[in-house]
Symmetry: C2
Subunit: 422 residues, 2 copies
Amino acid sequence: MKFNIKSERLWNDMMEFGQIGRGEDGGVTRTSFDEADMEARGLFLKLLEKSGLNPGMDAAGNIFGEITGEDPELPVLLIGSHLDTVRSGGRFDGATGVLMAVEVLRTMQENGIKPARTVKIVSFTDEEGARFDYAFVGSMAATGSVAADELQRQLAAAMDGDGISYAEAMRNASHKGGHFSRINPDSLEQAQIDKAKIKAYLEVHIEQGKVLENKNLGVGIVSGITGGEWSDVTISGEAGHAGTIGMTERRDALTAAGECLLAIESIAKNSGGSVATVGKLEVKPGSSNVIPGRVDFTLDIRDISDERRNQTSIQIYDAIRDIVAGRGLTCEVTPVQSLSSMISSAMVTEAMKAAFQEVDYPTYSLPSGAAHDAMVMGNVCEVGMLFVRSKDGISHHPAEWSSQEDVALGCEILYRTVAGLL
Amino acid sequence: MKFNIKSERLWNDMMEFGQIGRGEDGGVTRTSFDEADMEARGLFLKLLEKSGLNPGMDAAGNIFGEITGEDPELPVLLIGSHLDTVRSGGRFDGATGVLMAVEVLRTMQENGIKPARTVKIVSFTDEEGARFDYAFVGSMAATGSVAADELQRQLAAAMDGDGISYAEAMRNASHKGGHFSRINPDSLEQAQIDKAKIKAYLEVHIEQGKVLENKNLGVGIVSGITGGEWSDVTISGEAGHAGTIGMTERRDALTAAGECLLAIESIAKNSGGSVATVGKLEVKPGSSNVIPGRVDFTLDIRDISDERRNQTSIQIYDAIRDIVAGRGLTCEVTPVQSLSSMISSAMVTEAMKAAFQEVDYPTYSLPSGAAHDAMVMGNVCEVGMLFVRSKDGISHHPAEWSSQEDVALGCEILYRTVAGLL
């Protein structure tokens, strides 16, 4: 089977972007508007320019490229993902989907395809939320899933570890000039896309799990995405000297957090499908000889069933409050974000299945446990996703890997899916 | 009762030093050889100079002042404590004892006392271990409690949060010139004091507990100090995506740490006297949507009975290993330090009791749950300590407080104790 897309060219782009923000451990760290993220954005704008794909940016920092359709009034086909990463993450999560979109449009140009509708690439700002613990900023701004004025308030309040607010980081980025001067945390309504003008959103992403590997398949169709709920928990006790305060007189915020960690794990295990994760936890004051007076941690709860997730969340919050009160401490739970589950578009799925048949590859559908920009886009338009096999299911880790062969197959299927939706 | 020492002068010194390294929350942060610690050292050298107390420094950065005795061959009387603090600690822990020593020697000069033996002030380097998680560096170097070459190795290996080694920080400090040029992490044997040349070591410290407050007493005699054992624990699991890996497939280092926290608490509670604290805990990679792959935490175990502490430690280490192995993870426990309990000197205690009688104040003895430089000094000489009442028993905290009246009483008793030992 002769592919339309050029596997080598796509792979070289991926490896080039994979060098940006790469640390000693081989992990890639590109968190929103940090130095590496800015470098990746700059390189991506150049790539779009070089490919004749008319680069642009919106107020939220989302980057676009496009082949303008013969009839610009027809609803556009949007293809994309994100270029940001978690701390010390991999080279494939996000960048794969963005660079495949570029490869698909380049191939369309080379094949002389002049589409009726505009085909647009998007690289969304901050899918991961690694720097400010606030994720999906670009897709939320584009869809208006969080109202622009509310999002503006949230971005003014969200802080990174150095006390820099999200809004401040965006303003700093805007000072870079050129396309970046469009970034404006106070005018996020400008980033909102008119729903009526989108035909569908397509995203290719690495699986970040072992389902495709276990099935011995390189690419699969995503049937839907599990919803999630994110919150911040603060437990306040009393700091004190580690040598002079007896075990029964302590109000240790960390041992209380320890009990919460076990309750969270146990409730999720017994929920019948929810997963719950504490990924970040900070102890204050944080000296070896001081009883911790305060602990802050993040809570990430996900489930394909919104109803069951809701039940799990309530149980977990109740358990935290009971544990903390039982120890004579206090706690505060601050909701950060919540996203409903997304069911994939039948129209897009049919186009994908046709593409699988064209390349003579077995179709296989699987749900996504990870949230993606596609989930947010699902609030306003038809959405479809493809997954590419991840070696050992490892993701958000330097060892994250997908083979060049699987990436090429995924991109060719994307190309043919797009062709079927023009 | 007319006091010899000048309460106002001492209090002003204490408040002046309390401004150095003071943060927005009112807490004082002077960790070894950081900017604030260097400023405090500079000010202390000036104070000794101004008071005619012949300032000096040794290879470990310990600062000395003295009134030279009529017979310099007689064993010296050493009085001191430390000027470093925990992060966001108080103004009294450490500085009180050092500045009282200055006040006592100034008063001796004013009263025309020319002692037969040399009376020496010492401000020990790094009692708290807040920056490098390695405490009692100055007193260990001075006593040779850890051999100079071994200590040199430890200081080369101990790192702060920015990856600067203890030895490097000392070398940087030595570049400040003057007395600082004596600092040398590679010649710590030069800091060792000849045991035969010390008559006794006296230290006044705030209590950091509520015993004196509950007894309605301003000052008490320390009967002994509980020993302690400090170690670092690393739990290694596997990082992974918070949405795609099921609860039963995870190797979450943080939930394992949570189980360890509860086991540590429970073992200490049931030990009959030991206290155990995890004061510092770090999660890696530390993103809200990534399952923690690694957790590092400190462990601080103390007991007045060395034997019982040993049993507690063994139980805790066994429990950690069992928990971690039961979850299919691995762990590493690295011993950092251990100090035996210290029983106060009968000779010094008798001199203290006489001083209490002179000022017509009831004598009361209590053990110290906190470790102090006096514990390390106990390895080589007779040691005695006085405690000054702490408001609400609060310590290692911005709210740490002792009244000017109690401080004056403690200093006068110290003055009279010293007079009795000349």
